[in-house]
Symmetry: none
Subunit: 214 residues, 2 copies
Amino acid sequence: MSNFGFVQLRVVNPYEVAFREARSAVGAEAMLATAAEFKTVADAVADCTLVVGTTAGGRRHLQQPLLGLTEGVRLIRQRLRFSRVGLLFGSERAGLSNADLSHCQWLMRIPTREEHGSMNLGQAVAICMYELERESKVPAATERIDQATASEIERIAAVLMDALRMSGYLSSRSPSMSPEKLRRLTRRLHFSASDAEVWLGMLRQINWKLRQGS
Amino acid sequence: MSNFGFVQLRVVNPYEVAFREARSAVGAEAMLATAAEFKTVADAVADCTLVVGTTAGGRRHLQQPLLGLTEGVRLIRQRLRFSRVGLLFGSERAGLSNADLSHCQWLMRIPTREEHGSMNLGQAVAICMYELERESKVPAATERIDQATASEIERIAAVLMDALRMSGYLSSRSPSMSPEKLRRLTRRLHFSASDAEVWLGMLRQINWKLRQGS
């Protein structure tokens, strides 16, 4: 939850031992320390204008509309702009009871393979939070890659051509290798400008050595 | 993984006790039972034409381009239609090492709050699989190119390393060139399978000549 900026955890009748342990753990997030405890689901969602239940679906006759995650999140986001939304998750073992679900306007399901009745709770929460935050930020700018210029590629091809000549590649293994073919071959690799320089340096050193030997 | 239909788990040097336990657990998925074990990352990704690393980013100077999840997944999906893609996750504790990352063309990051250095491993995997399946409709076909596999790239890097050693490049011009650096440098180029073969042939001939001269 905290990874995606959702910091208001509310727990209903948590298993005391596990919850105390989680709270006092080294590195426990501020979120856990400030989690609010409630006796009933009704209390926990009292100030929400929309309550959405999560379910693996299929296993029981559902009384409420069941939406897919992306569709559901779209509706949740609209509501989040002006009021609180409660997203209900059941226990790892049993999920939400019918009584729990009765607090929900509608239900939401993460689309998974039919073969699987359920998902790990932590993973289900993580995916819901991820989807809620998915399009809220401008994606981080990625590093701009400076592509090598045509003349830099040309220089690599030329130096490589020298290496092939000196090593006997042209005469023995591939007499049909032309400068044009070699240029195409080099150009297809999409060198960045800085990489092109390194490759040129390597090939020049190799050629220097080839000349020594001949 | 299995929730979203990804069933080929490959593990590199797993912690034996935990892995055996996971495999023999009641209800263990078929996926875990058929997970393949490898000694090295190179072996694990050998048949992949694209290898993508996952990272929390920010903590170290990254050597490869870093993409956001949605952007990265778009590229992965294109490639998945006609060849294998490896998505690399590090251990819960330490993540991927620089040596691990050197097998990757680029890196991918789940956009989370700045305050958090990392994510729970299982949750990170779940979110990546979810995003990969999120719009599983087939996107428009792009030109099909048979990309070189990781093991073909590995061979090119190895032969090139020999050439650099014999030519004196390593000692004189760039004593800091490591196998990892060279692997990254080679991997950044867009070798097709057939081009990779040609380059390998050229480099081998050059090495043959270098050996003659020494």
